[in-house]
Amino acid sequence: MIDKLFLYLQYPFVRYAVIVGVLIALCSSLLGVTLVLKRFSFIGDGLSHVAFGAMAIATVVNVSNNMLLVLPITIGSAILLLRTGQNTKIKGDAAIAMISVASLAFGYLLMNIFSTSSNLSGDVCSTLFGSTSILTLSKQEVWLCIALSVMVLLIFVLFYNKIFAITFDETFSKAAGIRTNAYNLLIATVIAVIIVLAMNLVGSLLISALVIFPALSSMKLYKNFKSVTVCSAIISVICALAGLLISILAGTPVGSTIVAADVAMFAICCVAEKVMGARA
């Protein structure tokens, strides 16, 4: 089995997949803690559907590089969703549901009407569930992914204290003279970037899992923000690696396998919490 693994790892596309997979898992887990605590667990789902709709538009109008269209549209929606957090007529969860369902429907509609490919349901399925796209990454895309991940990491580390303060108590931060709107904008942008990146890995439907499972798992184990964040990053990377390797060896779909690993880890953490709680 190990031999088989090494054999596969000699192919560049498998190595690319592993690199990209680990990076995306790392990035998505970092902001997951913030999103879960801010009660925005579903934003991943909503935004990924937006990205799906944008992808459909990109396919129809035949843009040379999908990213050019998908990224701005997703960032725009993220800002719209997070901005409407309080004091609006349509509340956060309803707004997410609205945008998510609408863009999913329009995306599919567009793809159906202006279909250019003979295997439409196959296309849709692979955008939604990720399927093989992670194994067909070009060198350029890998570099783009690395660059964006480094950017996300840097932003997160530099603004870690601000992100904590705003997540814990936005009103207090605002009263203390912090420009919370600017930081919310930043968080929204970073989330959108992560989601567009993650679409390549697990597809749009499973992104939520990548964002929330590591966060929830580590919240079971740790009780301060720093440990929770670090632990969720570690859990996410481990699960992504495990999922990738299993899917390579067993030939299962990449996205679903990673999510299955995340779910398993969550179950383990639940048990661990019970055991630690009983001992304390």
Partner: protein
């Protein structure tokens, strides 16, 4: 020049006015209690004083070089905070954020300020504990320590004792009184008129009957008398 001067202030949301004709002054060292019925605009007034919300008309003037980032605020607890995985130290330290500006990390001085304020609130032994596992009174002390990290001059407290048991309530009031005696100006929203009368130096009553003045003036005023009579009858 007073610390905060409020002139002809009107408060409300969109086109609906909640309170108008508010005029009062807060001098350094005052202990002002804002009382009034539910929905009379107490919290909205506080948000306006904090510059979180623009007034509908009138103005709030900050004097004596009081900057936006020198105001300490103790908001009402939110649902999010109740199960937030954060240690006491992390939360208290986050009160120093306005001192940082764009600097990404806290420096040594800020860590000392946080440490000092935790000692002041008697919670330094809880520094490593998880916020959500603390009692209501301890949680309020943590948030108060955080507010103190942000200010040396003025604290704005929004119902600091709501949801606390009687002992914790008394402890909290004493703590606030001590801070006031150390020279920090206090503006507090309260439901509890009798406590307000025991500790405050000035009373602001918002609602249908507006009143602003010292505690002694309040006791002699029509509105003050009517409230006290109802309270006595309830006993």
């Amino acid at each position: 020049m007073a610390l905060i001067t409020v002139k002809d202030l009107a408060l409300g949301y969109e086109s609906r006015t909640i309170a108008e004709n508010l005029n009062f002054k807060v001098e350094a060292g005052d202990y002002l209690c804002i009382v009034g019925e539910n929905g009379s605009g107490k919290t909205t007034l506080m948000k306006t004083l904090l510059e979180l919300k623009a007034p509908m008309s009138g103005e709030v003037i900050r004097g004596e070089g009081l900057k936006a980032n020198e105001v300490g605020y103790l908001p009402q607890q939110t649902v999010v905070q109740r199960d937030f995985p954060a240690s006491v130290q992390e939360i208290v330290l986050s009160g120093c954020q306005s001192r940082c500006g764009l600097r990404p990390f806290y420096n040594k001085e800020e860590k000392e300020i946080a440490q000092k304020n935790m000692e002041r609130m008697g919670i330094s032994d809880l520094a490593g504990r998880c916020y959500r596992e603390l009692s209501g009174g301890q949680q309020q002390r943590v948030l108060l320590a955080r507010a103190l990290c942000a200010t040396r001059k003025i604290l704005l407290l929004d119902e600091p004792v709501s949801g606390l048991d009687p002992n914790a309530t008394i402890g909290m009031y004493r703590l606030i009184k001590e801070l006031n005696e150390e020279g920090i100006t206090i503006i507090m929203i309260s439901h509890d008129v009798s406590a307000a009368l025991r500790y405050a130096s000035h009373i602001l009553h918002v609602g249908n009957d507006l009143f602003f003045g010292t505690k002694e003036q309040f006791l002699k005023s029509e509105i003050g008398k009517s409230i006290l009579i109802t309270e006595d009858n309830d006993k």
